[in-house]
Amino acid sequence: MGELTFRMAVTRAVDEEMARDPNVILLGEDVRIWGAPRTEFRGLYDKHGPKRVLDTPISEAAILGAAIGAAATGLRPIANIMFANFLGMCGDELINQLTQMRYMFGGKIKLPVTITGYFGAGVSAAAQHSRTLTGLLLSIPGLKIVVPSGPLDALGLLKSAIRDDNPVIFLSHTLLLSRPKKGEVVEEEPEGEYIIPLGKAVIRREGNDVTVVATAAMVRRALAASDKLQQQGINVEVIDLRTLVPLDKQTILDSVRKTGRLVIIDEEVKSASVAGQIAAIVAEEAFDFLDAPIKRVCAPDTPVPYSPVLEKFWMPDEEKLIKAIVN
């Protein structure tokens, strides 16, 4: 068995699903020669051919619009949109078409589209290439949202996303899907079919004192923080949500009922964030179990700044999480 990086996981998931189902196609900018800018689709054009791996013009509305039209007529497209910020270029396709057509048509159509892309800050990519936009995405009924925290999850969740009969957005964190030789996270490559169902959170670390909810790049930061807190005698339970929609509410509520405390670390601006949504759910459904106010470790309500010093201040991290838990 070999090593599996996040990038390799994405390649393998798409490759396996394209081999399994002839209706799966991949379209996006530079997917042919580069295999997209992070090379996560490299080799797929040579293997699956020009009818199934399609280089598009820089036309995000046409990429997602074409995916919608193709899905409405029998295909199972993967639309690579590159950075989540670029969803702004296909806002109508995302908000008004893809995610509403089934509902508007009285449930009489399936649109099995997987949107792939990069999200998140941490590499000084500045405001237009760094947002997670998860709060915004959460407000779009009809969309499933997958936010994996490592290579194995990327593999298993992306395969489920492609097989899902609904629109799914699968977002690879820019820190996890780094280019080779930049300190990639490596896990052991699994043999055979590796699938993780959407909507099942995983407890990355068990603890009795406080529940920390995290996703994507924040999971590692939460685990690092909990290692340090362990030394101070604080046992943190770390939940990795894996998917924001469907949301595994039960795992969160069960954990809070056990620990009595909840801190959410969320790489998004605090207003209208996923963290706010989880806090509201717990306040509504497990208030009596809380021993302390819920805390949210989020980014400030500003665009993402460029300079590493400013970006570090902006981004939630281990120290900010520890501070929130200890206080």
């Binding site: 379209l27 046409a62 409405a72 007529t73 295909l75 109508d92 078409q97 508007m104 159509i109």
Partner: protein, 321 residues
């Protein structure tokens, strides 16, 4: 008449045009009476475009449509009773009361929905073309859009993509002179909107959109080209929206002279006259068709009236598959 079309086909086309006209007249009345909620955009005056285009299509071909979509979906074969029930917001409607006038869809016969967003269909249609290419069938997709949509960025992205990949898409621009209340001449410096095709390296044709046979012939050529794998065509149909942008629109932006001039060129009456002249349709036959359609529309309204509203809890259904 340049093309040789069988008598039965001509009568069928006339019937479709009149079906659209009479459906829309019924809708305008029911809307005015308060029986149809929401927004309502009728197709009166433009019937020749949808009819001439869709007369070339078979059941397995596709269309995408617009906010003014009743005519397109009727021409593609949609049932007027299920449409009327949808407009009334009833459970028995095409979309179970979830969509209304701007979203009527019947995917079983290739109707991928009317669409409330101007220009949205252009990129979706390109994706349908992609799907046809990947699946290797000889289907085509007709994308209806208005003059206003050609000023939207999606038009550029969608047409360019279909041109690059030589997809079997026919973009039919219904130039009815107005985008809402604004004349196309105020928002576009191109006289014939089909000239925009030059920018994509594809054919563009402008045709009299009130002449159903002219539309039929031009679209027929474009479809043959598409089925041969030679890519998309832009067809501009110059026509006129006899009603306002929406039902109730006082149309202060139109002159009386303009309205009267276009009324003389009414596509349904012109075609009826043309068919009478060549001896295809007698006054008696025309009356019979009209009576049958009047009965159909009365049945459609009755069906809509008597159908139940959805259960309030149905709101929660149909988001995810």
């Amino acid at each position: 008449m340049k093309v040789a079309i069988e008598k039965q086909k001509l009568i069928s086309m006339y019937t479709v045009m009149l079906r659209i006209r009479m459906f829309e007249e019924k809708v305008a009345r029911e809307f005015a009476d308060g029986n149809i909620p929401g927004f309502c955009h009728v197709y009166i005056g433009e019937e020749a475009v949808a009819t001439g285009a869709c007369a070339n299509l078979i059941k397995t071909d596709y269309i995408t449509s617009t906010h003014r979509g009743h005519g397109h979906v009727i021409a593609k074969g949609a049932r007027t009773d299920l449409m009327m029930a949808e407009l009334f917001g009833k459970k028995t409607g095409y979309n179970s009361g979830k969509g209304g006038s701007m979203h009527v869809a019947d995917t079983d016969i290739g109707i991928l929905g009317a669409n409330g967003i101007v220009g949205a269909g252009t990129v979706i249609a390109s994706g349908v073309g992609l799907s046809i290419m990947v699946r290797g069938t000889d289907q085509v997709v007709v994308c209806f859009l208005g003059d206003g949509a050609t000023n939207n960025g999606r038009f550029h992205e969608g047409v360019n993509l279909a041109a690059c990949w030589q997809l079997p898409v026919i973009y039919i621009i219904e130039n009815n002179l107005y985008a809402q209340a604004t004349r196309i001449t105020n928002t576009c410096k191109v006289e014939n909107l089909s000239d925009r095709a030059v920018a994509y390296g594809i054919p563009g044709v402008t045709v009299d959109g009130n002449d159903v046979l002219a539309v039929y012939e031009v679209v027929s050529e474009a479809i043959n080209r598409a089925r041969r794998g030679e890519g998309p065509t832009i067809v501009e149909c110059k026509t006129y929206r006899s009603h306002g942008h929406y039902e109730g629109d006082p149309q202060v932006y139109k002159s009386k002279e303009e309205i009267e001039a276009w009324l003389k060129n009414d596509p349904v009456l012109s075609f009826q006259k043309q068919l009478a002249e060549i001896g295809v349709l007698t006054a008696k036959e025309a009356n019979t068709i009209k009576q049958e359609l009047a009965d159909e529309m009365n049945r459609a309204v009755k069906f809509a009236q008597e159908s139940p509203f959805p259960d309030p809890e149905d709101t929660l259904e149909g988001v995810y598959a």
